[in-house]
Symmetry: C2
Subunit: 389 residues, 2 copies
């Protein structure tokens, strides 16, 4: 049986479990007899373009460590691959004897993956899902999301406890998520601790409306002072402009997407100026996608599994697919890994469906919580002792 070399690369922002997917790829590649050398690209597709590949042969002990190391151990990038680049990449793959290529990333990366499959017909290509935004199509959810959602659920609950303890101010918590509200919505899982946590959840799927927002904030303050509002960084006004976004060329990424980041600060200022209530904001930002100690064990296992299943698919001769998850049951939670055609995934953004958004547009529904709960693992908010009022 002839062997071919394997190459794995990372695309886009890292997550808390992207290295678990990498560990899955490396472990399965070692097991497959059709795989020769195992390479990783340093710094993502830019590393491939430059031929900056390193051979990896990790021991079982190192693979276990890698699994629990947050952020990308091999590096990633946000470079947008141009038409002229695909021939260069195909050339590098040929010269290094690469017959299997795995690209771990989100929507943009899956598009790259698909085009590469067309330009390098001698190489089998698979996408390994990765996004904290949970906006990849064709799959129930994506590795990286469960851990980021757990971080937000726990952080929201703890922030609500802190705000209630002093009860003198409002806090607006800003959560990542460019165009989809999956991550902000996970704040609703804080309600396992107290059904009043948090007061509102604002997602990018619904344009922000000032008057009802301020009315709701004022009402909640009158009911008992301090509370928490969770807002997605990608919240937009009715004209589609990001709330409080800073403008300028440094605020746009390589794909031309605006980089928001001022939504919480904007809402806090709005409440202070229009209602005269003391309001602050918190923005854990990137911390929400790299926290190792808040990783969801379910997410970690599934991330590793997606790496393993991707290599298995390639070694069966399949190409042009991404591993996804099909949910069989929510309680108890059961799912199976499936192969999804990259054409269904590339450049498609999956947003929160209307059934997960409350009618007033300022919260999510219990149906969303039922969807999300199993993904963050066992309830991290058990065993608190609180005075019930």
């Amino acid at each position: 049986m002839s062997k071919a070399n394997l190459l794995v690369a990372h695309g886009g922002g890292p997550t808390a479990v992207i290295n678990a997917s990498l560990a899955g790829v490396l472990a399965e590649a070692k097991r497959q007899r059709s795989v020769g050398k195992i390479f990783a690209a340093r710094g993502g597709i830019e590393g491939v373009l430059k031929g900056d590949l390193i051979e990896l042969d990790l021991s079982s002990a190192d693979l276990e460590k890698l699994k629990r190391t947050p952020a990308s151990a091999i590096g990633s990038c946000r470079y947008k691959v141009g038409e002229q680049d695909y021939e260069t990449i195909a050339g590098v793959l040929r010269s290094k004897g690469i017959g299997y290529f795995l690209y771990t990333g989100g929507n943009d990366s899956m598009d790259t993956c698909l085009k590469l499959a067309e330009h390098a017909p001698d190489c089998l290509v698979a996408g390994v899902p990765k996004t904290i935004d949970n906006d990849l199509a064709g799959t129930d959810h994506s590795p990286g999301y469960g851990s980021a959602a757990r971080y937000i659920a726990v952080s929201t609950a703890e922030l609500c406890l802190d705000i209630r303890a002093l009860n003198i101010q409002i806090s607006v918590l800003e959560v990542m998520g460019r165009n989809a509200g999956w991550l902000a919505a996970s704040a609703s899982l804080a309600r396992s601790l107290d059904p009043s946590f948090p007061a509102m959840i604002l997602v990018p799927e619904r344009p922000f409306e000032e008057a009802p927002f301020l009315a709701a904030a004022e009402k909640r303050w009158k009911e008992g002072k301090g509370f928490v509002v969770v807002v997605s960084e990608g919240l937009v006004d009715s004209n589609g402009n990001a709330l409080g976004a800073e403008r300028g060329k440094e605020s746009v990424d390589a794909f031309g997407h605006a980089l928001p980041g001022g939504a919480a600060l904007y809402l806090a200022s709005l409440i202070r100026s229009k209602l005269g209530l003391r309001t602050r904001s918190e923005k854990p930002g990137l911390l929400g996608r790299v926290s190792r100690l808040l990783v969801s064990e379910i997410d970690l296992e599934e991330a590793e599994l997606s790496g393993i299943e991707s290599v298995k698919g390639l070694c069966e001769g399949k190409s042009g697919f991404m591993i996804g998850f099909k949910r069989l049951s929510s309680s108890p939670y059961r799912m199976e890994a499936v192969r999804i055609d990259l054409r269904e995934v590339a450049n498609v953004e999956r947003k929160l469906p209307p059934s997960y958004i409350a009618p007033d547009g300022m919260d999510v529904t219990p149906a969303f919580a039922d969807y999300c709960r199993p993904l963050i693992g066992p309830d991290p908010l058990r065993d608190y002792w609180l005075i019930r009022k």
Copy 2:
């Protein structure tokens, strides 16, 4: 032996371990035969003023839960006690038969404690230390600091990993700490993972100077692009004005202290506008003081111990003291609990000594890391797998 009732109250912002101190107080009070009923004030000294006391008699199982519940379970406040209030408080204590009063808080609370000891001579009074800022005088460190420092050390390391993985931008991480840089300084413990983490640490003890800061940022970028700057929220310019602070009456607390909060955003804007480099900011804010899953076990034990020792002191007939910690050895870490006269503590702010600040004012020294390391517990950054460049 005649019994007297005991009252415990919380003052100022909560921490991740303030409930562990409460659990220590409640457990030891149950053991002491001279203690009658055990009361807690709801909502801090405001609860005492209103006579809003609840009797607490927790089981061992509930005490264990309470120990690991972040933020104040009984509530706190930021009310500044006026001269006229002390007689009201003394009256409440008399009417409820309170012979032992414990007040858990920072500098301001210890001042309240001291004055109360003068106004209520029939009640024995003790301060229980609590501050994430670590600025209480007379003690090696204060409960709450070790856990907040662990949060910052871990968060800084993880943010540095994330920034290095993509290597396309700078991040400015804002850390709590009004006038003292102890908490920002703890970011230096991220260097156990990589000595280049983080690039700079800016503390309020040294006024910010724009030119050397920008020169250092530019130099670091040229050496290898992305890096992290850690900044204390209380950073001031040479005129003593908080960097990027929002002004207005909602930005000042009950003690007249300005509430900063814009330092990271300010520095990120400065780097973008003056150097043209892509820069973002993260501000976990209150999340840094309530994270249960990042609690330092050493801090948790010491918080509980400070509650226990406070009750013991009162039951020995002592009054007007705060429990503090005297360090006997850093390696191995050994300390003993001591009683400190409240007059040494009230209203004194302990700042970072010059020996802990680097000569250029943009970092802390290895001596600080030696001081801080034992307080965060076993290195949470062990067992990562990284490609060494």
